[in-house]
């Protein structure tokens, strides 16, 4: 019996040692090569384009933008990854996040509370709305057996419509534009960033620490708690989990609630740290970016952090391409190729690992042939 492709894809099977690092690095190099070929074919200077991107991406101002984008991506990918670890495909992170941010912004704008309570209230409301929206899919799956893939996709669409309706009800015109948004949130709920990168006055989201905390919490929850054990067991073998007394239906609901709650956090750094209001131009598609990054990082909080930073770097440095008359979509191609090649690279690494491991052991054991060999399976 060997692991299935999805088990390997979703990182439920461990890859240890240097192979786990080599695989994504090789994939990124490969994606670079493919992008170079595309650049060359479209008549753009390959080397110049890449160095321009790196130069631009490493400027202080860009670094701040990268950190801020990565914070958001990180939260999104963790929300997706939690489901993945249990074999649940929460495709609805996008809708959950937008609806949650909208309601939280409206509530935040409508009330005023003393400083520590105001932002906490907003964050809690956002998590609750995200959890509730995802919970619908969880309950549907647990009680009616509806595939969470289908239901979350449909809930995304409903969230878009519902969001537009609610926004129209609650919105006020945004000052200085013809955009509409929720009434701005009072000072007491704003979480100041800090100009942390020397050479740029741009502020890094204060809630970057929240993202780090969520990452640590994710690790602890999954690997150190009973709940995490049940969740991983269900992901690895649902039948074995059932026979062991895991209430799989309840786990499905819980996992969706937690994943949705985490999705509720995605909009918070932006809402409480920069825009203070939810408006029509709140970035859509973050939930889908999260899926790609969760795959890149193999649903592991450290891997996802790297994935989020890489993704943010590519997004930010794409901004310079327009100035050089190069289509910024080249970066989208690169991101797509990275995800594909990482998936392939991990698959290859899995196969290689088996062979390499056995060869290594064989060599070592054969090398030690002069000393009495370990027999059979004695430990």
């Amino acid at each position: 019996m060997t692991s299935s492709f999805t088990d390997r894809l979703l990182g439920r099977v461990k890859l240890s040692g240097w192979v786990s690092l080599a695989a994504p690095v090789l994939a990124i190099v490969f994606a670079g090569v493919v992008t170079s070929i595309v650049l060359a074919l479209t008549g753009n200077p390959v080397f110049d384009t890449l160095t321009t991107m790196v130069d631009y991406g490493s400027q202080p101002r860009s670094l701040v933008l990268i950190l801020n984008n990565a914070t958001t991506y990180y939260l999104s990918a963790l929300a997706v990854a939690l489901g993945f670890r249990m074999n649940l495909f929460n495709i609805g992170v996008d809708g959950q996040y937008r609806l949650a941010a909208l309601v939280a912004a409206a509530v935040g704008g409508a009330v005023t509370l003393p400083a520590p309570f105001h932002p906490i209230l907003i964050i809690l409301v956002s998590m609750l709305v995200g959890a509730a929206w995802a919970g619908i899919a969880g309950v549907l799956k647990a009680t009616r057996g509806v595939s969470e893939v289908i239901s979350t996709i449909m809930l995304n669409t409903i969230a878009t419509g519902l969001g537009a309706y609610l926004l129209a009800q609650w919105a006020v015109p945004v000052a200085g534009s013809n955009n509409i948004g929720t009434p701005p949130i009072a000072e007491s709920a704003r979480i100041d960033g800090f100009a942390f990168v020397p050479g740029s006055s741009l502020k890094v989201f204060g809630l970057i620490f929240l993202a780090v905390a969520v990452g640590i919490g994710f690790h602890l929850l999954l690997n150190k708690t009973r709940f995490g054990f049940d969740l991983r067991a269900t992901g690895r073998s649902e039948q074995a989990a059932v026979a062991s007394g895991v209430n799989v239906k309840r786990m499905v609901v819980y996992a969706m609630l937690i994943s949705g709650g985490m999705a509720g956090l995605i909009g918070m750094p932006q809402l409480l740290g920069a825009s203070y209001s939810y408006s029509l131009d709140f970035q859509p598609g973050l939930g889908f970016t999260g899926i790609a990054i969760a795959l890149l990082g193999r649903n592991n909080p450290v891997g996802i952090a790297f994935g989020a930073l890489l993704w943010a770097f590519l997004d930010v440095s794409a901004n310079i391409l327009g100035l050089h008359k190069i289509s910024p979509e080249i970066v989208t191609i690169m991101q797509g190729v990275i995800v594909l090649s990482v998936v392939i690279a991990y698959e290859l690494a899995h196969r290689y690992r088996g062979v390499a491991e056995q060869k290594r052991v064989s060599r070592e054991l054969a090398g030690a042939a002069s000393t009495p060999q370990k027999e059979g399976a004695s430990a």
Binding site: M1, G228, D230, A240, Q358, G376
Partner: protein
Amino acid sequence: MITTGPLGTLTQEASISTETTVSEVAVQLEGITKRFPGVVANRDISLTVQKGHIHAIVGENGAGKSTLMKILYGMQRPDEGEIRVNGSPVTFHTPGDAISAGIGMVHQHFMLADNLTVLENVILGSEPRKGGLALDFAAARKKIKDLSEAYGLGIDPDVLVEDIGVGTRQRVEILKVLYRGARILILDEPTAVLVPHEVDELFENLHGLVREGITIIFISHHLDEVLKVADAITVIRRGTTVAEVSPEGVTARQLAELMVGSELPSPETRESTVTDVVALQVTGLTIGGEGERKVLDDVTLTIHKGEVLGIAGVEGNGQAELVEAVMGIRPSTGTITLAGEEITSWTTLRRREAGIGYIPEDRHRHGLLLEAPLWENRILGHMKEKVNVRGWWINRKGARADTERIVRDYDVRTPGIDVDAAALSGGNQQKLIVGREMSGEPKLLIAAHPTRGVDVGAQAAIWDHLRTARAAGLAVLLISADLDELIGLSDWLKVIHRGAIVAEFDPATVTPEQLGSAMTGAGEEA
């Protein structure tokens, strides 16, 4: 046939077969070595199989039998050594290569799709094409019928696999291999899931195959049947061949000693430890509503503290459902009480917490997380036990220490507790599960085939563990296909047929023949 093996003294009495037959050699393995992390699974193994023979391979759990067969079938590459088939050297990279060389293998765990017909299952992967595109079912059906007739397998290509019993499934697996043109057949523990009369049928089939010139290599832990059918026996111990014997020359006992390398402990005499305190009371347990066929039909049984209740039956007659109903995995009607407390509406977890241990019949699907290390598998199903958790947290240290204990006490052969469960041999996986389920002093143990796939030595050890626990008050619901195990271990026997209890026996007086005929439903009408 030559006798080899470093243990001259042990092999002497066993090595009677010195006649020099000039028959052809079908398979020859020379100096095969295969290493896994921390383990040498095969060390310089040599094996010669004569054409048209039934060649048995026996050995302890983890001795390297399955590994050797996987090498011959192209699923594993040997580190060293040579394979010769019909005289010419071959190198297999995939099972496909082995199949082209006329070698087929039936794995211990069936690999048939339940919702497909026999025909579809057989052609799956080697579909016959008509004009390159369309499936040629007619040709396939004819070929299956021909094969079935030629070898006396008695298989109907058009029934659904879910509707046939294990014995027939076993024959379908064999037919599937023959369909691909195999002339050399490898069977890994083919009889583990069969009850005696099915075993007899299988062996009749095998003799039929051999008469047609097919060569059979089979692995078994049931030494009596090995002696009955094999033409030659190879004993493997700790990764190497220690003896090559002919069945006329040895007894089961000698064979077992060859396998273990020392004398077997003799079975203890035992006295009844049955008390009159009821541990488990099941009343009117039924699965399947009005009008449907009942998979479990009004089953009532009582097990006292210190009692082993054995359930005999041909596989697929409701045993699995009974076990799952008592565990709360499968919905049922009726009542279940544990030590006087009604648990009918309890969840599986709560039942386990209350002291029910569970050895499932399918260890791969229900008993293990194959891709998780042994110590995490120790936690599985025991997520509330003190050694495993502290409140909400996993107690990593405690679980690891207790896994070490199980590995020691139950003689689980493994390089360590951090290897994945998938890397253990089948019997060693089983020992780990038994050890786990006997931990934490359960009140009731539900044991479905507790010694399936374990070697004779380990089987005796597991029986000892069960008897000791029983003497301390453990109640056991025992399901087994092994009649000796049922009779030897149980204090009382019930026979299940089509979901209903149809007969009861005192194991002290019942004969395997009586039990066997009750199991097939004979005398049910009477």
